[in-house]
Amino acid sequence: MLLPSFYDFCCRVKTISGNKALEKIPVLLAGMNAKKPMIVTDKGVVAVGLIDVIKKAIGTKLKIGAIFDGAPIDSDYKVVNAAAKIYRQKGCDSIIAIGGGSAMDTAKGINILVSLGGDNLLDYEGAGAVKKKLNPLIAIPTTSGTGSEMTLVAVIADPERKVKMTFVSYFVLPDIALLDPRMTKTLPPALTTSTAMDAMTHAIEAYFCKEKNPVSDSHSLYAIKMISDNLLNVVKNPGDLKGRLALANASAMAGIAFSNSMVGLVHNMGHSTGAVCHVPHGVCMSIFLPYGLEYNLHRCADVIGEILFPLAGPEVYAATRKKDRAEKVIELIRKMNQDLYDATGGRHPRCLKEIMNRDGKQAVPQSILPAIAKATMMDGARLYNPEEILEYDSLMVLEHAYEGIPLDRSKIKKGGKKVAY
């Protein structure tokens, strides 16, 4: 186990996991002296009846101040500003965030504004700009991927500038994460795969990127194991509540890991592709993950090789020579994407050209790759990647990911041998 020269780690989120976890909401809010929560969610969550599940679990013990179901696919700061007004008008004193990453990030953004004052979220952009305790926030994920219920960051887009802004502070962390398998039971197979691969990416990038540390590592390794053991089973048997709960836990653990160790190239590319082409984040993650590993292989092959143990199990790990383990990890991630593609009937894209929008058109045309490469230079994740990422590096990776072919390693500009953690 590698001990870095310096690290810090913090996770203050109380985690409640299991069946009937939702029934604890009134008691938990009462414990934080909150009486009138605002529910923040999206229309998809409402449509599949998950708000009704929450209402039933809460019963008559709690008065809901407002239900805001306008969280967009990509959290938008203008939506946050509008929702904060509703929160104030209805006299709410806390937030229950229900949904995937966007709903969570929208809820975090609203919480910043309503707790600290002001009417424009942009005033709090950056790392460390939020310096005070915020109002109570309970996060209930309905996907098993973002890990947003455990993270100190809210990623919120500015559609005019086509960038995703980050709001980073320990005070942004939710107070409580509630993991109940009823909330992910209705998740369709394609969304299950993309969000779980998002969690897998969090765990893997947290494990090899520059801010890695032993406390985060322990979360990463167990998250990788739980996803590897359960994802394919859950896709084939969507009603497998035990597997669903395992994925929800893996997502939360991966969230803890990457919230403290940060992420690199895969997220750098994913954020930029999402901002330019409005492609779901999880889809980008599953496509870019093997490329992120290949790109950084020369800087941290031994660290990447350690991932083989939770990914494939002790037998495969022991049977693979040390120098081949990192390559085996990349091979298995590609195989996992292929298996998920087969299991979902082709709805889990393996490369950028396979991503289709709702009209059935290509979501990421080849002509837009230079614009994505340019956007990667403005994304903070590039600072945490073991190898330097410049615009032409990004374009080179994007061109390979577009076609779905392994990276031509001779094109990687190498900045050195081993990375210093």
Binding site: E125, E211, G380, E388
Partner: protein, 191 residues
Amino acid sequence: MNTNKYPEIKPGSKFIKKVYCFIMLLIVGRAIEAAAKTDKVVKKEVEGLPNDLCFYLGVMPSGPYMVVGKTKEGGMKYLGWNLVGKKINLRMNIRNIEAAIQVFTFQESTATAFAHDRFVVEGDLPTATAIVRILDIVEVYLLPKIITKLAVQRYPKWSEMSPFRKWTGRFIIYGRALGYGLVKDIITNIL
């Protein structure tokens, strides 16, 4: 109760370290201004920055600081070490003087310093990321390769920066950063 038994502990000033950081920030600030006029990559990065950008890089809790702003002509201008009276919209702070010394003596690269949570950024993070890129290029010009390799993620290959470009750029940037303008900036800031 005799409160004198419980004396207040005042932080040490670490004067020499502060002076070292002050000089480094002064040179880097001037060099950013010079590089924005000289280097095509820095020029391109500056083009993408907000027109009203005024940022500082400093050391918590009380400095030293380096304030740099984007000019109407699209270049960068070193605005001194004083924060008063400036419309700063991006604050990049190093958490303490010891962490700043690690960065400014090149024991830790800027990216590693970010990874080790030495920086606190208030403002637009994409802009801060672009500024880190500019700082990396400026370091390549200002410092010898053996030191710069410690300070940046990847030292530019010949295909990225030819020796001709590097040495002519280095000569011009040093000339502009340490020339007449430096004296003028110091006098302006003192007065």
